[in-house]
Amino acid sequence: MSTIATPLPETPLAWKLLYRGKVGMACLIIAESAIFTIFVVAYLYYAGKSLSGPTPREVLETPIFYTVCLLSSSLTIHFAGKLLERGRRGAFLALWLLTIILGVLFLYGTGQEWLRLIYQHGLTISTNLFGTTYYSLVGLHAFHVTAGLTMLSIVLLFGLAGRVGPEQSARVEVLSLYWHFVDVVWVVVFTVVYVLGR
């Protein structure tokens, strides 16, 4: 029963399938994209339909600096992965740490913006449709950044303990796929909230 079927192919099969981790993450990204799509549709559908203020034009400021932070973290995680593949653990850890710092900076930026909106402009999730859609969309993204940072930190801790080597680079690659996705979502959210939505 070592081979079910006869006759076997003459030449031994070159049988290589995709890495299951990558496939799984790609599927997760498809599902997450569908979730974000629904929130983006709701945001666009309700843009300009709030019955009371404040409106996006009055209160939103474009977070250029923090956006640059998040987008450049995609670069650092990419190069961190490449370094790990070549076995340069020290450089990998440094770039990995930099990625986390950039991500945390971005979250800090979101926090600052929310603080300003809530205390200076009195905009909460229940104020009007803009508040409802804005906090849910940006909040959903920030939640994904937080989840990503948690996973990145776990890898950092393992790395500091000396447990992350080139043999794990396929797994690290899967995580960085997720992080790239979070960045791409931010490009969409940024366009919708800060460009189109105003």
């Binding site: 029963m1 079910i4 006869t6 496939v23 569908a34 339909k49």
Partner: protein
Amino acid sequence: MSSDAIAIPTAEAAGRPWVATLHEWVTTVDHKRLGVLYILYALFFLVIGGIEATIMRIQLMHPHNDFVSPQVFNRMFTMHGTTMIFFVAMPIMFGFANYLVPLMIGARDMAFPRLNAFSFWLTAFGGILLYFSFLGGNGLYGAGNAPDVGWWAYAPLASRAFSPGHSSDYWTIAVLASGFGSIGTAINIIATIVSMRCPGMTLSRMPLLAWMNLVMSGMVLLAISPLSAAQIMLLVDRYLGGHFFDTQAGGSATLWMHFFWIFGHPEVYVLIIPCFAFASEIIPVFSRKPIFGYPVMVGATVCIAFVSMSVWAHHMFTIGMNSYANSFFTITTMAVGVPTGIKIFNWLGTMWGGKIQFRTPMLFCIGFLFQFLIAGLTGIMLASSPFDWQLGGSYFVVAHFHYVIVGGILFALFGAFYYWYPKITGRMLHEGLGKLHFWLFLIGFHLTFDLMHIPGLLGMPRRIYTYEPGRGWDTLNFLVTIGAFVQGIATLVFVANLVISYFKGAKAGNDPWDAWTLEWSVSSPPPDYNFASIPAVSSRRPLWDLKHPEDPDSHYE
């Protein structure tokens, strides 16, 4: 073949305490055990959902009946719909996929066994949460208990103002939890099929069951996610004072309908595509012919998945959309009929000229073919928006979708039970009881759901708890209820057959049906590791090749 199975020393089952067995089942990450857990869990809820349906049918037996109060009736149809879709149909499909896909593609387990267990328990707790609402739904307001807003939970019915207490929250969180479970399992099925196939199992040699579960899982990713997003929005509205579906603050009730049906319609195909898969495995084996038009079958499945993503608003014709939307959704809905028709012709083409064996699995599949065709035809009728304006929200619609779900999905599922039960338990289901089950269920089904179309045409709206006498609905409703009881008795025969055959059934052996796919090459039930050594295949019917070395399929590929 069993000769080179690996003997794994196991403690004698009789000598082990039941707690150890229970612990093994609760902590299992094995795809076969999780598959069985999914199926048993779904069967349990099938009985509960059936009892709820029976309560509704008893209430509607006579005009002005007062078997249950209007409030209880609302809870019954909400719980019946939610239970049957999320906690019966979905888990049972995932159960069969979990059990069969790795065996059919020559893998030892799913791609992510722990994610598999996690997804199952999420779904399981979702169901428990939904039913806990009978106890916990009162909340601080003392209002309501189980959810009673219909399984669509249309806004503003589900908002705080109209649904005080916690009943709608239990519904939302139960559906959200089981939704995340479904997404997890779908990811797992896709990763398994893409990355775990045995050598030689190219995509074009994969059993159709694997193909169709791959498509179904892709649809789950795209359909369940919008539902999860909408449930999160509903929670924001109910708990944080958001205004997504709050019309008083400029929100839109229609948007909820769109979000719900973007999930709701593809969901029908998420459930029916695995049933196509069962039929595509069972019909060839009992016609003694390979499937007719394999590549077209795959193409039609992908095509159905694609088109069915753009038909959702045919559930919303009666809310008043513009004529462009009406035309678009009428056309797309009718277009789904084309690939579906291709499939029906392919199954008929498989049977044509074959040596058909009328065993119980085949009987159920033939019932499925016939009834699914009729369900599709009433679907085409309802797809026409002017017709839908007349009959939307009537019992005609209820009869139509029960024809799909009971006549199509449930019949194919019963076929799958009779076909794979020997593999799962090692014993055959009793053929006589199986035939009794089939004929009783067939009679009950047609009595109930054929006749149910007519009160709909006569204007009986759905979701009413009682009606006036003398509108021509009385006799029909009485007969519909009788049919429901016949189906109930048939289901009891089925359950009895499951239990009796488990202990007393004839031993099945590896391959009781003389079938051609890999799962029949291993012992019944399969060993823990599935395959002693990973098989290699060189055609679509590896077991045919093995049994007929003089004329293997691989010569014709």
